[in-house]
C-alpha cells in the first residue's frame, strides 16, 4: 500500500485507536449530549455541541494516534492572558469575551479592513484534522481540530509581493484578562510566520476541537494551528492579521531571545535552556491514576513528525542558528 505523504512513519499499531472503539466513543458522546439536552439541566453543555460542525468533512491525512481526552485538552492549557498555571485558563475562561468579535486585516494586501468574525468565517467549509501538538515544555497532545487552511483565508485579502511575512495579534483586554494585569509577557501577544509557512497546506485556522466550538481556554473564537512548530506559535484568540515585509516580533522571542527563535520548529536535536527537546510526554489518557506517573516519554520527531511535508521550506536554513 502506498503511504500517504501526510502520515507519520513511526506510529506503532498499538497506538492506533480501532475504528469501532472510536465510533463507540462518538456514539457515547452523542448519547450523553442528548441525555443532558433532554433533562434540560445543563443547557450550556448541551449547546456546546456546535450545529455548524454537524457534517464535518474528515481530512484524509489525520494521524490515527490516540487522541488526548477532551478533559485534558481543555483543562491543561498555556494561555497566559488567563493566568500562568496550567489550570488557570479554564478557571478564568469567562473573563475572555468573544462576542462580538472582529479581526483587523492590515498591511501589504489589496483588501485591508476590519471584518466581523462572521465575515471572516462565512466562505469557508470546515473540516476535521487530527494533528499532533508539541509544546516547548516537552509534553504533547493529539487534537482533532475543526477549521480550514489559513491560506484560503489569506488569499481573500489579496496580499501583494511585499507580503513576506504574516503577523498575528491576540486580543488585548487588560481590564478583564487577569494575566494581562501583570507584565509576564509584553501584551498583546504577537506571533508571526513566513508567508510560505502561512500559506502551507498544513497551517490551519481553527474554530473548534472535538466537533465543538473552541472553548475560551483553547483560544476562542479563532486560533492558529501550526503542527510542526512548538505550541506557542499557534496563537490564540486572534484579533489582527497583518501582511508585512520584515520579520515581525514574536512574544516569546521578545521575552527570551536566547531561548525562543522566530521559527521555533519542533527539533529534537536543538536543545532548549529549560527543557531537553529529545523526548516528550504524550498526554493521551492511556495511563491513569498512579500508573500515569510511570508512563514513559516518547522520542520527539523532527518537525513533530511532519518532516516530509515541511522540510522543503527550510532547506537553505541553518536550523541551529534559526531555532
Amino acid at each position: 500500500m502506498k503511504k500517504s505523504r501526510f502520515q507519520s512513519k513511526k506510529i506503532s499499531a498499538s497506538e492506533i485507536t480501532p475504528e469501532a472503539v472510536f465510533l463507540k466513543r462518538r456514539q457515547f458522546l452523542a448519547a450523553a449530549g442528548l441525555a443532558i439536552g433532554a433533562t434540560g439541566m445543563l443547557p450550556s453543555l448541551a449547546t456546546a455541541q456546535d450545529s455548524r460542525f454537524d457534517s464535518l468533512a474528515k481530512w484524509p491525512h489525520s494521524t490515527e494516534e490516540t487522541q488526548t481526552p477532551w478533559d485534558q485538552a481543555t483543562s491543561y492549557n498555556n494561555f497566559y492572558e488567563l493566568g500562568t498555571d496550567k489550570g488557570d485558563p479554564k478557571k478564568n475562561a469567562r473573563r475572555l469575551v468573544t462576542d462580538p468579535w472582529s479581526v483587523e486585516i492590515a498591511g501589504e494586501c489589496a483588501k485591508p479592513g476590519k471584518y466581523t468574525l462572521e465575515d471572516i468565517l462565512k466562505p469557508h467549509a470546515y473540516e476535521e484534522r487530527v494533528y499532533r501538538l508539541r509544546c516547548v515544555e516537552a509534553w504533547s497532545m493529539v487534537i482533532p481540530w475543526v477549521g480550514f487552511p489559513l491560506a484560503d483565508l489569506l488569499k481573500r485579502f489579496e496580499p501583494n509581493s511585499n507580503a513576506k511575512y504574516v503577523s498575528f495579534e491576540t486580543i488585548l483586554d487588560k481590564k478583564r484578562l487577569p494575566g494581562q494585569q501583570y507584565p509576564v509577557l509584553q501584551w498583546p501577544y504577537v506571533e508571526g510566520l513566513r508567508i510560505d509557512e502561512a500559506m502551507h497546506p498544513l497551517t490551519l485556522m481553527a474554530v473548534g476541537l472535538y466537533g465543538k466550538a473552541l472553548p475560551n481556554q483553547n483560544g476562542a473564537p479563532l486560533r492558529l494551528v501550526v503542527p510542526w512548530k512548538y505550541g506557542f506559535k499557534s496563537i490564540k484568540s486572534i484579533v489582527k492579521i497583518s501582511f508585512v515585509e520584515e520579520q515581525p516580533d514574536t512574544s516569546w522571542n521578545l521575552s527570551a531571545p536566547r531561548e525562543y527563535g522566530f521559527y521555533s520548529n519542533v527539533n529534537p536535536t536543538v536543545s532548549h535552556p529549560r527543557w531537553s527537546q529529545a523526548q516528550e510526554r504524550r498526554l493521551d489518557g492511556k495511563s491513569t491514576g498512579l500508573a500515569a506517573l510511570f508512563a514513559e516519554k516518547q522520542d520527539t520527531l523532527m518537525y513533530n513528525g511532519y518532516e516530509e511535508e515541511v522540510a522543503g521550506l527550510y532547506t537553505d536554513l541553518d536550523l541551529r542558528k534559526h531555532f
Partner: protein, 207 residues
C-alpha cells in the same frame, strides 16, 4: 559518660499536650505529598501529574528550608521555646522534599536516561544549581542527630551554617527555572529569605 559531654541541654521528657506537638508536626509535614499522591490516584492532579508532583515537591523543599530558618527568629521574637525542638525535624523534611524532588526528576521525568540527565545538568545551569543544593543538604541531614552534634562539637555549627547559601541557591534554582517574567513566587521566597537573614545580621550587629 564524662561529665563535660553532658553539658548540652537535653530535651524535656515528653508530656501530654506538649508531647503531641512533635508527632502532629510530623504528620502535618507529610500531608502535602500524601494528599498529592492520593490526588494522582484519583486522576485529580491534572493532565500531567509528573510535572505537578515535581513542582509540588520543589515548592515544599524550599518552603521547609525557609521554615527551618524561621525557627530561631520565632523562638526569640515570640519567646516560643518549644519551637526549637522542631528545628531538626523541619530541616529533615526540607531534605526529604528536596530528595523527593530530585528522585521524581530522575526517575519519573527522565526515566533514568543517564545520557539525557547528564546532558541536562551540563547544559542547564538551574538544574546544576539544584543538584548542588541536594548534594549540599546530604551532610546536614547525615549529621542531624545527637551523636554527630556531640562528635563534631563547634564544627557542627559551622557545618550547618551552609544552610544559608544552600537556601539562597534553592531560590536561584527556582528563579532561573521560571518562564518569561513569571517571577512573583520565587521573588516572594527571596524576600522571606532576606528577612530571615536580615534579622540574624541585625542581631549580630547589636551584640
Amino acid at each position: 559518660m564524662p561529665a563535660s559531654q553532658r553539658s548540652l541541654p537535653m530535651p524535656q521528657p515528653l508530656i501530654s499536650a506538649k508531647g503531641l506537638i512533635k508527632p502532629a508536626t510530623f504528620l502535618l509535614c507529610l500531608l502535602p505529598v500524601a494528599l498529592a499522591v492520593y490526588a494522582v490516584s484519583q486522576n485529580r492532579l491534572g493532565a500531567n501529574p509528573v510535572e505537578s508532583l515535581l513542582q509540588l515537591t520543589g515548592d515544599w523543599g524550599l518552603r521547609f528550608l525557609l521554615v527551618t530558618l524561621a525557627v530561631t527568629p520565632l523562638q526569640f521574637i515570640f519567646k516560643w521555646a518549644w519551637i526549637a525542638r522542631l528545628r531538626r525535624m523541619l530541616g529533615l523534611f526540607a531534605f526529604f522534599y528536596a530528595v523527593l524532588h530530585m528522585v521524581i526528576w530522575l526517575v519519573l521525568d527522565h526515566g533514568l536516561r543517564w545520557d539525557l540527565i547528564v546532558q541536562d545538568i551540563i547544559e542547564k545551569k538551574f538544574i546544576a544549581v539544584g543538584v548542588v543544593v541536594v548534594a549540599g543538604l546530604i551532610p546536614l541531614a547525615l549529621t542531624s542527630n545527637r551523636f554527630s552534634i556531640r562528635k563534631l562539637g563547634t564544627r557542627w555549627k559551622t557545618l550547618h551554617r551552609i544552610i544559608y547559601p544552600l537556601t539562597l541557591l534553592a531560590v536561584v534554582h527556582y528563579l532561573w527555572q521560571v518562564k518569561a517574567n513569571d517571577i512573583y513566587e520565587p521573588l516572594l521566597y527571596l524576600v522571606v529569605l532576606m528577612i530571615l537573614l536580615g534579622w540574624r545580621f541585625y542581631r549580630l550587629l547589636k551584640h
